[in-house]
Amino acid sequence: MILPDWWDASRLVFELFAWLVVGTDKIALSRPAHQQIIQAVGMKESMHTSEVEASLINSLRAGDESAFTWLVEQYHTALVRLAHLFVRDSSIAEELAQETWLAVLQGLNNFEGRSSLKTWIFTILTNKAKTRSRREQRSIVFSDLEHGTSDSPTVDPERFNPPTADRSPNHWMAESKPGSWAGIPEDLLVSQEVMNLIGQAVAALPENQRIVITLRDLYDLSSDEVCNILTISETNQRVLLHRARARVRQSLEKYFQPEN
């Protein structure tokens, strides 16, 4: 039997309502509803929503394979990539990510939700990776992160009037002022070509900047979370983020407005 769209929608509303009223531990959402909620709130928002997290955790505790698959699809590649910053060998990075998942499953009953599920998972991975890298005596990451605070400009100084100019020194030169992107159609902004461009720009960043922008802007972690995970100061984190974003912006500007 084919049910009309409103059927799904109204069932979802009903389940959500029942869920909010009765509480997550007393009523289990049917699997499609669970997935619809995740879709409805979007991946990023979903991970900030403690109710959705609670439902996810309950599903995991109950041994729901689809909940685990969903989680793994969201974060496994990220975990491997993060681990790779601490250990040289890709197979060890993969192993660390797998060990993390096992630790997550084993620790589910003790997870109190003081941090978000995502932060908890990333922290487990980072701790494991740090221990492993100490064993391998590879501590490049930390020192690199601490040396990220160089103060070279993030915008080509040639684009500003010289400091000695009579009129508006250190202000944008008329011909190299950044233009507005407001007129660029959304289709072009989110096109595969632009996504590839951003991917390449991020990949080309120095390791310390790349990890910070990945955690902040791709995985949507907060500044506090990133500082804790990487054990770097907030200022340092911000400097690395600034440099990384500025480089990505520059690539986009070259693409959208090659004349600059």
């Binding site: 793994v72 084993q106 990505v248």
Partner: protein, 76 residues
């Protein structure tokens, strides 16, 4: 505040980390400078678009390994 100074403070501004007085200079400058307004807008757009980057999918091998890990855990 000059444009050259402003562009280096954009992230601090977006993170809400500028001291009040500096933030006021920053916003004063913005209100009279199209170039810097566009620059800030470009940075915001860069952040939004970077957030849309998707991770490459998992390989079948990775999926199998992880599912086995899950099933083994369930048995315990």
């Amino acid at each position: 505040m000059t444009c050259k100074e402003l562009v280096e403070l954009v992230t601090d501004y977006l993170e809400g980390k500028l001291p009040n007085e500096v933030r006021m200079h920053f916003e004063d400058h913005l209100s009279g400078c199209k170039g810097c307004t566009n620059y800030l807008e470009q940075m915001r757009e860069t952040i939004r678009l970077t957030g849309r980057l998707h991770e490459e999918n998992l390989s079948e091998q990775q999926k199998d390994d992880l599912l086995n890990l899950f099933r083994d855990w369930k048995k315990t």
